[in-house]
């Protein structure tokens, strides 16, 4: 039985490794073609990574239309900078950083533009569907309501698992500030969830 389990496990690992290697090779091929201005190859990269890019955009903005714009902007920027991608890090990591920068870039837009977006959102609120269910949906909505700085740190550190150093680097803030914003986020989330009677 143990031998069978080992064999099954071994086959499974091998299959997984093969699949991962295949996917990696396919991704590398698509990157090379896209770097030679093949937009169809770039579409392949888009299909591979859009859910993760859109995920971080939606979590950081808390707004569907903003997240869509940011995700599109991220891929356009990625296309324009693709020749600079040397493969030092995983493509998904590089793309994720481009997406975070796209979100931050949009946040720096003029106050007038922000007001316009806020006004539109106020008139036609769009429910943010993250795919989370039950208690996770409550938490997800509470995260959306966090102030911008705290939300960005919470999303990158707590949801996406970046270290405080990485989070600080991506957001252009000090590591200590990242820690302080996380503390603030946790405090605000705990308050919100308590008000909603959330217990875990």
């Amino acid at each position: 039985m143990a031998a069978l389990l080992t064999a099954v496990s071994s086959d499974y690992s091998q299959a997984m490794t093969t699949a991962t290697t295949d996917e990696y090779a396919e991704e590398r091929a698509l990157i090379r073609r896209a770097q030679n201005s093949d937009s169809r190859a770039f579409e392949g990269l888009y299909r591979m990574h859009i859910d993760r890019v859109y995920g971080v955009c939606l979590r950081m903005t808390g707004n569907v239309s903003e997240a869509e714009d940011c995700a599109q902007e991220a891929f356009i920027q990625a296309w324009n900078k693709l020749d600079k991608f040397r493969g030092d890090s995983a493509f998904s990591t590089w793309l994720h950083r481009v997406a975070v920068n796209a979100v931050l870039g949009r946040m720096r837009k003029s106050k007038r533009e922000q007001d316009r977006i806020a006004a539109v959102t106020e008139v036609t609120p769009i429910r943010v569907d993250t795919g989370d269910t039950g208690d996770m949906r409550d938490l997800s909505e509470a995260v959306d309501r966090l102030p911008e700085g705290a939300r960005h740190v919470f999303v990158l550190h707590a949801v996406y698992g970046y270290s405080h150093d990485e989070t600080g680097e991506m957001l252009g803030i000090a590591t200590g500030t990242s820690k302080a914003q996380l503390h603030r986020a946790k405090r605000l989330l705990a308050q919100q969830l308590k008000q909603q009677g959330f217990e875990a």
């Binding site: 859109y54 869509e68 599109q72 996770m136 949801v159």
Partner: protein, 179 residues
């Protein structure tokens, strides 16, 4: 809910979320934009901006060869508008702060240079400002034009670089005079 449970719950939140619509068509449109449309005046302006590198070198030469006190000639104030981006967005606060500080000092800096150098600098700034104004007008009509956006951004950088160069050069002149 304590911190640990909150962090554990956060790790369970979805990190991959499918957008409600396919975003590819918009991306494809942007990246497959045909080569720049006919835009002769703006291309000419952009070319003029590129020539500023050469012009700036000329300014450097004129300023460094001439250390004698200069007669200050007052000229009309240069008018700078807030840096905008096709009337839709403004440039970020970092740029605005640096730009405002350099513009505020510009008149004082220009008084330290020779009339010829000053005329050259003002002419160059005028070329850049005209290019920015034209590109902003074009962007207002075609706000999604990535090529225009990038070109405008480059021109803003050129403007900032020239202002910094003026500031740096006059400081150098002062240091030599001091010695």
């Amino acid at each position: 809910m304590n911190d640990d449970k909150l962090m554990q719950a956060a790790q369970k939140l979805a990190t991959e979320i499918k957008p409600q619509r396919d975003l590819w068509p918009g991306i494809a449109k942007a990246i497959e934009q045909p080569a720049p449309r006919r835009w002769t005046p703006m291309l000419a302006q952009a070319a003029a901006v590129v020539l500023l590198v050469g012009a700036s070198s000329g300014v450097t030469y004129m300023m460094t060869k001439d250390n004698a006190p200069q007669t200050i000639v007052a000229s009309p104030d240069m008018i700078f508008e807030q840096a905008s981006f096709g009337n839709r967005y403004n440039m970020g606060p970092g740029f605005q702060d640096a730009h405002s500080a350099l513009v505020a000092d510009l008149d004082a800096e220009l008084e330290k240079v020779s009339p010829e150098a000053r005329a050259d600098i003002e002419a160059n700034l005028k070329v850049i400002r005209n290019a920015i104004a034209e590109m902003n007008t074009a962007l207002a009509a075609d706000p999604e034009n990535i090529l225009l956006q990038e070109r405008l951004l480059r021109t803003y950088r050129e403007e900032l670089a020239l202002l910094r160069r003026v500031s740096g050069l006059t400081r150098n002149v002062m240091m030599r005079n001091d010695i």
